[in-house]
């Protein structure tokens, strides 16, 4: 089994003003891990921002007493982010709306999960000490 280590482990209150700081920290860590710069500055930045936004606004309902935890684990071949909120979770498989289809293009919402899926190598959701959205980015 490939060796892995925790590259980042932070917890923030449920307020969108904290997203930028966490994303900056994560992209910096990503670059330090010698992952291609565009993957850090574009893929990670966007996907993690969207996951955090969902966790804060939907998972935790923006309730100030609740928290979101972000944990990143790096191994030889991939970088894995777990974004954990205190919500009941959702059916990821059922969330398959295509915001690029003509009938959805003019809608204001529905692009977050789509972007996560397009920019990460995998997106998973499960329950483990909270509602976890796991974003996996392969190094190459």
């Amino acid at each position: 089994m490939a060796r892995s280590r925790v590259a980042l482990d932070v917890e923030i209150p449920s307020d969108v003003k904290y997203i930028e700081g966490v994303v900056e920290l994560a992209t910096r860590k990503c670059r330090e891990l010698r992952i291609p710069p565009r993957k850090c500055s574009f893929n990670v930045r966007i996907a993690l921002s969207e996951a955090l936004s969902n966790a804060i606004l939907r998972g935790n309902g923006a309730m100030s007493g609740k928290h979101v935890r972000v944990r990143a684990v790096v191994s030889e071949d991939k970088l894995v982010f777990d974004v954990v909120d205190e919500g009941a979770g959702f059916d990821l498989a059922a969330e398959r709306v295509d915001p690029t289809s003509p009938e959805n293009l003019m809608k204001e919402d529905g692009r977050g999960l789509f972007l996560m899926r397009r920019l990460m190598d995998s997106v998973e959701r499960f329950q483990k000490d909270g509602n976890v959205v796991r974003l996996t980015l392969n190094r190459e």
Binding site: I19, K107, E108
Partner: protein
């Protein structure tokens, strides 16, 4: 992060400085809607000083586009960097908006 509004001829120009994200999208929306309410019809949003737009920021642009069009107006975008261009292409919003390379070209396009 801020939004600077200026007028160039008949066009209201909005410079987005920093990011257009979930934390500030409503501010942009309100500023543009205030101008629309005053009777302005032509809008250009310039992203030359913008690092990042998230999905909620994209959503606000779609919403503003609809509202401006409903009032008989036009919304144009300019100066997307490579990452923002890719973001618009991924979401196919490049097909919805008229996007120019420079502010000058965008202003000429009205």
């Amino acid at each position: 992060m801020s939004f600077a509004i200026s007028k160039q001829g008949e066009v209201v120009v909005v410079d987005v400085e920093g990011q257009l994200i979930v934390g500030n999208r409503q501010e942009l929306k309100q500023k543009v809607l205030d101008e629309l309410e005053k009777g302005e019809k032509k809008f250009l949003i310039d992203f030359s000083q913008t690092g990042y737009i998230d999905s909620s920021g994209l959503g606000v642009l779609v919403s503003l586009s609809k509202k401006i069009r409903e009032q008989g107006g036009e919304l144009r975008l300019a100066n997307l960097n490579d990452d923002l261009q890719t973001l618009f292409e991924l979401t196919k919003l490049d097909t919805l908006f008229q996007i120019s390379d420079t502010r000058e070209r965008a202003l000429e396009s009205f």
